[in-house]
Symmetry: C2
Subunit: 376 residues, 2 copies
């Protein structure tokens, strides 16, 4: 938690649940990433947190943006971003959304299938397109399965088609999975991309861009490698496979940029047990999986907690949200421990919750409204 956030919470004690996010920390993270990967252009993954003050600050810093929808593109434009600095990175787009984006000047689009490429050829003529390929997500705490991307052979075929259909076959993208804790995942993926570059060169197509995606981790409960380690691994692999002929490099950080800039402040609603002699207490908060903490599904992302009783004796807990839904349980199997003194009415802070929280919040499950947002 930054000192600015700590002071804000102390001075204003905003109603819970809420997110307090330090926009200066976003700037720090942007600069750290630029230092670690000076040759890469940064496309902030807007979906991580589309808060207007974040988009505004990043625009001022010269960042580009990776948008998942026409609605996110509009948010970027409203924040002052120029259309040439926005990539429409979702491989699944309605025709109406492609048309709107193209009309607004967007000229870079992702795809991973022939039907999508056909839509782009028809409604975004001449645009730069990049194909997303499937890669291993080993080491990611929020892996991305096979929903996005296609096999390499198909990617090669589609890039040939792209040119034939009047599009600009720009490059290849991949995503190693979010909260990726090993640098090796990038190295394997870069090797695959390089082989597509080589194959397509033989077909007379010179790709010019590698989109390295996101995935760069934030520290939650466990240590993660520093961003410099990812930068070194990526540059090592790029040099190994492309030599002096380095293509343009794009990165799409979301979590890395905003995760540790934010803190969710919540209230303990109840601390109870299920039987007299039960050693495990249930701690119910006024925010849960449907209030924004969606990434606790399967206990994937393990947030760290701060309480007013830190440093006193702790005991095992199950941590849950406030709704009448049992799936609204955050941590039951991850060996969380919280102070024995914790009780209803206490405020607790969830550290590094600036990413993938606000927009996930259910509009009204059990009647609860989404958490408030404070950008400071």
């Amino acid at each position: 938690m930054t000192s600015k956030i700590a002071a804000y919470l102390r001075d204003f004690a905003p109603a819970t649940p809420c997110l307090v996010l330090d926009v200066d920390r976003v700037e720090t993270n942007y600069r750290r990433l630029k230092a670690a990967l000076p040759l890469a252009r940064v496309y902030y993954a807007v979906k991580a947190n589309p808060g207007a003050p974040i988009l505004g600050r990043l625009t001022d810093l010269g960042s580009s943006f990776d948008a998942a929808s026409w609605e996110e593109i509009q948010m970027c434009l409203e924040a002052g971003a120029r259309p040439e600095n926005i990539s429409y990175g979702n491989t699944i787009k309605k025709v109406s959304a492609i048309q709107a984006a193209y009309a607004a000047g967007i000229r870079m689009f992702a795809f991973d299938s022939e039907p999508e490429l056909m839509k782009l050829a028809a409604h975004a003529p001449g645009a730069k397109v990049y194909c997303r390929i499937l890669v291993e997500n080993k080491g990611a705490e929020w892996p991305l399965s096979r929903k996005f991307g296609c096999e390499m052979e198909m990617a090669r075929d589609l890039m040939v088609l792209a040119r034939a259909w009047g599009l600009d076959p720009y490059g290849i993208s991949f995503h190693v999975g979010s909260q990726q804790t090993t640098t090796g995942a990038y190295e394997v993926a870069i090797a695959r991309v390089a082989s597509i570059f080589t194959d397509l060169k033989q077909a007379g197509i010179n790709l010019r861009m590698v989109n390295l995606g996101g995935g760069y981790p934030v520290r939650y409960r466990a240590e993660v490698p520093e961003i410099d380690a990812f930068g070194d691994a990526i540059m090592g692999a790029m040099t190994q496979h492309f030599g002096n002929d380095l293509p343009e490099m794009l990165v799409e950080p979301g979590r890395f940029m905003v995760g540790d800039a934010g803190v969710v402040s919540a209230e303990v609603v109840l601390v109870s047990t299920k039987a007299k002699d039960d050693p495990v207490r249930w701690v119910y908060l006024d925010i849960g999986r449907f209030g924004g903490l969606a990434e606790t599904e399967g206990e994937a992302i393990k947030y760290a907690f701060r309480t007013p009783h830190d440093g006193t004796v702790e005991g095992p807990v199950t941590i849950a949200g406030p709704t009448c839904d049992s799936t609204d349980t955050l941590y039951e199997k991850s060996n969380y421990r919280l102070p024995m003194a914790l009780e209803a009415g206490d405020r607790v802070e969830l550290i590094s919750t600036g990413a993938y929280v606000t927009t996930y919040a259910a509009q009204s499950f059990n009647g609860f409204k989404p958490l408030a947002e404070h950008y400071i």
Copy 2:
């Protein structure tokens, strides 16, 4: 899908994604339940769908309401419900919410722990309280784990405390899990409740109410028992355990009341494969897990689909939502098959989606707004 919904979709083709819900069907379901369990008072579980036209119709029919929050209580009051017909059924409540409910005239509250009972004693003096006990959820497609309820011994102790603290020890509640497909679960639970009644009678406390909870299933892909089968099983067990001295009986149907009254209308955004020879197509819709279909988590609730090509040759599919999140995949392992002719732009209907959809929708994940709602 009711004929009214079919006509509405045909005549108005509302923008997707949206829910179209036939309020007359809600009335039919209310009457079916009353016929199956004439001795039970119906407390509609508002969380299933708090649409104002639903609450209004049920108020007119004489229904009572099970509210999960102060916000849901307000919705019921605004729809014309009287406070004496509203139960505050969440066992996890902020003090401020208890105070607001009590001030509004609410006099029936659930609890399952001593700290919660203490809050009620302090802020809802004299109120009727009922204790929720843990029961088996075997047979439920959306089971409720141990988040709510306490062990029987604790329930007995707490009811004694309730009287000592000036509250009215009213009864016992349980929940056999949502989309419960076996009647036996209710029979086992009723036996447990009856033993608590007996024990407490010896302590001089005469409980007066059994809250049978909800769980009554809706037909999705697979057949489920009729509501009459649940009515028969429950009345058989009640008579067996309570004889002629039947206590008041409450039921809290949510899904049963509104599930088959609603249809989600969606658009196919993309149909693709991951490789040329891949037999499984990915079908991406403009609604997914974060757009309201939260109960597809773990492929728990298996909705049935209607497409414009029904009756033509089908093939295996994975069905996913429109966001850049891989967990936004609905069905990958449940052997769904859809027509080979299905393509982007087609409208599809998800049948019996009137419950647990609208309020779950994320406020803005990936920039997508919650589905529209049409009550007809």
